[in-house]
Symmetry: C2
Subunit: 237 residues, 2 copies
Amino acid sequence: MSDAYYLRLTDHLRELLSGPEAFEEGRLPAERTLAERFRTTRVTLRQALAQLEGEGLIHRSNRRGWFVSPARLDYDPTRDAGFNDYVRAQGRRPRTEVLHTDTRPHRPAAEALGLPVDCSFHHIRRRRFVDDRAVLAESLWVVPARAPDLLQGDFAANSLWGELRSRWGLTLAHRSLRLYSEALAEREAAELGVAPGTAGLSVRRAIFDAQRRPVEYDEEHWLHDALCITVELENKA
Amino acid sequence: MSDAYYLRLTDHLRELLSGPEAFEEGRLPAERTLAERFRTTRVTLRQALAQLEGEGLIHRSNRRGWFVSPARLDYDPTRDAGFNDYVRAQGRRPRTEVLHTDTRPHRPAAEALGLPVDCSFHHIRRRRFVDDRAVLAESLWVVPARAPDLLQGDFAANSLWGELRSRWGLTLAHRSLRLYSEALAEREAAELGVAPGTAGLSVRRAIFDAQRRPVEYDEEHWLHDALCITVELENKA
DNA sequence: CAGTGGTCTAGACCACCCA
DNA sequence: GGGTGGTCTAGACCACTGT
């Protein structure tokens, strides 16, 4: 079909994007320029851009403009590989910023781990980049008894799970994942430099050790177009 | 912040939605009515509705109007439980329609299963409902050698994996999943009765038996607000 | 300061759904 | 045939980014 003009515009732009050297430096021309070139208004043009954004082909940053989205990152949340490792393994450049740390109670973490709601956690808030694009805002809550002086470590450079294993000898035996699409709230949107309401993917994990003791709970907020979740499984009923 | 009017509108509507008996029969008033009530234009009102749609709180059907979205369905794609079983287990009513069957080559299936691109598969296309809302459009491609007369079965009522196990004694040992957010293409959008470009979640699986022989490949297209992926894992490095 | 996207107005016509 | 959402126009002002 594609009878609507904005859909034909979408098709047209999609072809341009897949072509060679479509837009220099991965940046699209200004909305007003594109609207004029295609003889329509900004409203209609923006409808077309929103489509492509939904498909994960382009994205916008703050009020800076529209950019061609890079390939999605493959990510297996069931593995313990560190962010730095698998980003580099895919030929990309990882970076991590720690935004905040503290030790306080946190109800969702307590509930997910089956602990009393008033018990405290070591909390780390950080932001992670792939090739200088902020793609992930996450919080981790670690049970202090499992890793007492955790917050003295360097959780930017090192894998948290690597630390838990090497410094406290923890085995991460059982894990429970929840994953769903979301609209990024103001906080995450601000941290990632996107408009509030931008489509995201939420990954939540509760992790227990071999003795079935609660170890850690985390919440990840990804830009929806930044990743492809992959899982490899053997044997399961 | 929430300085923009459409964001305040979003907050306001979100409260109404969470309140008791907010909108009778789960249906929202007409856009023009809401726009007038909140003293704004349809364009701005629709921005607010789009936000709530992104959050998974409301959805639209065709040109019929806006509706309150039901709770997400919990779904574990790593398990072999049939759709009918887990939908009913959550107190919901499942339904399945078979849209199409044939036996033909299919390149993506062949590539995912490591087979020659020209080999044929038994293909089933179906649409699945939860409480009479179409939430999933899917295609399955089964290696004919594993299940020769598959297409004579009743793949609407029965679990496909149950069939593969009971009729052909197959053990589904190894599986490889890929999962990412997408914009529903025209075909899936039409099958699910939504606008093209509606946010969706794509789940692709390649499945092998205990002898590591390819068995099946499938592609699922879910409405983004209809499900929450859950995975429970023991032991893994 | 110039240029960008973000937001908003006040209309219009069309395609489709349903009574 | 009346009402719904889907699409579109031609402007406007604001907030922020980058120089």
